[in-house]
Amino acid sequence: MTLPARSLRLARLALAGALALLLAAPAVRHWLESRMSLHMAVELPLLALCGWAAAGSAWQGRSRAARLDAQGLLAATVASCVLALWMVPVALDLALLSPGIAALKLASWAGAGALLAAARRRITPVLQAFFVANAAWMSATAGLLYLDAEQQLCVNYLVDDQQATGWALLAWSLLLGAWALAALRPLLAGTPPAGAAASEPGPPTRESG
């Protein structure tokens, strides 16, 4: 491992550790979960970022992981399922009321982030754009439903907070939409996509990390 690569890995691990400590602190967790908008639009993405930073490039060169997650399809599927699951109001309420569901929330978001980090070199632009656009569409739909609902959907959160969450999810959907378009840029520009080379079948690459 070269010096810049090692520094990058250390920085990533430091970020993961700092985020884990921050999110585990009862006061911070209580604050993030005290409002639906913070819970959905800040805490959940931070958990994914924590998993992303912790995994880094540790697995991306491993042939076994590459075989199980060809072209990043498994990581993208896991991330889509996790996103869909935590858009459901009953899941969000139970994450506050049941320790088992709270643990499932932490594990699923951090795990999805870690799998995406491991797959980021393997995933092709088309696959990435498809899944990110799907996440944008899902966030926008949930956001519009939250904005439209006049009744409390979560017993732990007030209606005005629910509407703020709707706006926050719409903002996320715009970001994700922009990401999906950016993922397609190499194809539109006619340059060979970076992910394509990595996804081509070939001998196992040297293990990194």
């Binding site: 590459a66 075989r67 199980l68 997650d69 060809a70 072209q71 399809l73 498994l74 599927t77 896991v78 399922c81 869909a84 699951l85 459901v88 109001p89 009953v90 899941a91 309420d93 139970l94 009321l97 569901i101 499932l104 409390q152 959907l153 979560c154 017993v155 732990n156 959160y157 007030l158 080379a197 081509e200 079948p201 070939g202 001998p203 690459t205």
Partner: protein
Amino acid sequence: MSQPPSQLSSQPSRPCPENRSTAGTGLTLAACAVVLAVTFAVLARLTAGFECWTFETRRRHDAAAGRLAWPAMALQDATGQTLSLPPLGPVLLVDFIYTNCASVCQSAGAAFYQAQQQVQRTGADIRLMSLSIDPARDTPPALAAYARLHRADPRTWTVAVPASPDEGRRARQALGVIAVDDGSGGFVHNGALHVVARDGRVAGIFDTADWPQALALAERLAEARP
């Protein structure tokens, strides 16, 4: 990325890249199918078979299926007397209130007055209970004022507060009744009306406006003597 030909030729048993790629794709698709199946199963469990997308509908679904038990709790009524819930005997119709509430809890009081009149008319073995979620402010005098305001007859309708804040919190948690601070000194809560059978099982949860249906269920349960 690629290895020199000499290195490749020294490993004749290695499968060709196309075969490895096909095997990898198959493995990935199988893993994706497992992930989808697990997500489907988790979602089915969380939503009680894709029927309840919110916590409150799931709670009502659990009650209707007989899976919600009323937790034992000690109370203090408007006269300062200590009692325990659920009492073995009458069917209970319970709502959650706080006396400082200017809207929902007052309409709940009005609905309970009508229910009280009907219970006294029919003589059904049903007791009405209004339980406070605000033990800090709802002292016996405050409860007595609420009872007076809504003409609660203590022979049929008890207005009470949990014996301690912890006791109330524990019981509400067991029932899934969540009170959220509304930011202006009050609460927003999902209390509604709970019909509690003689065996302590919550038999149904209804919106306050649906008190006639709640009372009808309580009457059916009261008629079916053990």
